[in-house]
Symmetry: C2
Subunit: 185 residues, 2 copies
C-alpha cells in the first residue's frame, strides 16, 4: 500500500471507530465517509463490506480474546477458566452496539470477513467446555455449539437497553447454569 493510501486508511478507520461507537453497527457508511472527508467510493474500496470494516475495527480485540482463551486453556482451573471466558466474551460483545448480531450472522456464511473470528471463538468455547466437563466442572448435557449459542444470546441480551441494567446478573445466571452449579430454591 502506498504511503498516502495507508494514511487515508488509518484516518478512515479512526473516524469509523468514533461513528460506530456512537451509532452502533448499522451506522451509515455514507456518514462515515462524510465525516472522514473522503468520497464514499474510497471508503468502500478500502472496506468493500461492512464486515470488512468491522474486521479491521475489531481485530485487536479479537486477537486479545482468542489469545486469552489459549491462556485459560492451560492456566486456570477448568471451571474458573470457562467462567472467565464467558465474562471476557461479554466484555468484547459490549465493545460496540450490534457487534453480536453481526457475529451471529457472520457465523453462518463463510464469505464474511468475520467468519474466521467467529469460528475461533466458537471452537475456543468448545475446548474450554470440554475441558471443564472432563474435570466434572460443567454440565454434561451440552456441547460447544450450545455454549456458543448461549454466549451469543447473552451478548445480544445485554446489548438491549432494557436488559442492560441486569447484565451482571444475567451473566452470572448463564455461567452458573453452564457450570451446573447447585442453586438455592
Amino acid at each position: 500500500m502506498r504511503a498516502d493510501a495507508k494514511k487515508n486508511y488509518d484516518h478512515i478507520l479512526d473516524i469509523a471507530r468514533g461513528v460506530i461507537a456512537g451509532h452502533g453497527s448499522d451506522a451509515s457508511m455514507r456518514d462515515i465517509a462524510r465525516r472522514a472527508e473522503v468520497g464514499l467510493a474510497t471508503l468502500l474500496r478500502h472496506f468493500p463490506t461492512r464486515e470488512t470494516l468491522f474486521e479491521a475495527l475489531l481485530c485487536t480485540n479479537l486477537d486479545a480474546l482468542t489469545q486469552k482463551s489459549a491462556e485459560l486453556e492451560v492456566s486456570n482451573a477448568p471451571g474458573d477458566a470457562l467462567a472467565t471466558w464467558v465474562a471476557d466474551w461479554v466484555a468484547f460483545a459490549g465493545s460496540y452496539k450490534g457487534v453480536v448480531d453481526m457475529m451471529a450472522a457472520a457465523h453462518t456464511n463463510p464469505g464474511s470477513a468475520l467468519y474466521a473470528s467467529c469460528a475461533a471463538v466458537h471452537s475456543a468455547s468448545g475446548r474450554l467446555l470440554a475441558r471443564a466437563q472432563a474435570a466434572g466442572a460443567a454440565r454434561e448435557d451440552m456441547n460447544g455449539d450450545d455454549l456458543f449459542a448461549l454466549m451469543t444470546a447473552l451478548g445480544w441480551a445485554i446489548d438491549q437497553p432494557s436488559f442492560a441494567p441486569r447484565a451482571d446478573h444475567l451473566v452470572r445466571l448463564i455461567t452458573s447454569a453452564v457450570l451446573g452449579e447447585t442453586v438455592g430454591k
Copy 2:
C-alpha cells in the same frame, strides 16, 4: 371504518402476512404495498408504523399467548406451568423471523404499538416465576426481569439460522436452568 376501507385493510393484512412470512420483520413496506396492489401511502395510513402492522398481524397469537399464561397460573403444577410457558413463548417467537428483535425494541419505548403486548408477556413471566419460586420449583436468585430477558434471548438465538438446529436443546437448557434442576456433571 367504511366497508370498502375495511376490505382494503383486510386485503393488505393478508398480503403483508405472506410477505413477512417470507422476508421476516424487516420486509419492505413498499414491497408489501406493491404486492397488495395499493399505494404505499394507503398502506401507511392503515399502518403508520411497522409496529402497528405487526400488532395487527400478531394480535391473535399474542392474545392466545397471554390467555394461556392465565390458564397456566391456576391449573398446572408451578414448575411445569413455567416450563410450558417458556415453550409457548418460543413457539410464538418462531412465528415470524425477527419478531423477537422487534419485541425487545418495543419493550423499551411505551410509544410502540407492541409495548402493551411486551409488558403483558413480561408480567405474566414474573407471575409464573414467582409462583414457581414460592413452590420451591424455580431458582431463587432471579426475578421477572431476568426471566423475560432469558426468554427473549432464547427466542433471538433460535431465530439465528446457525443456532436453529439446536433449538429444542437450547430451550431445555434454559428451562432446566430456570427451574434450578440438578444436572449430571
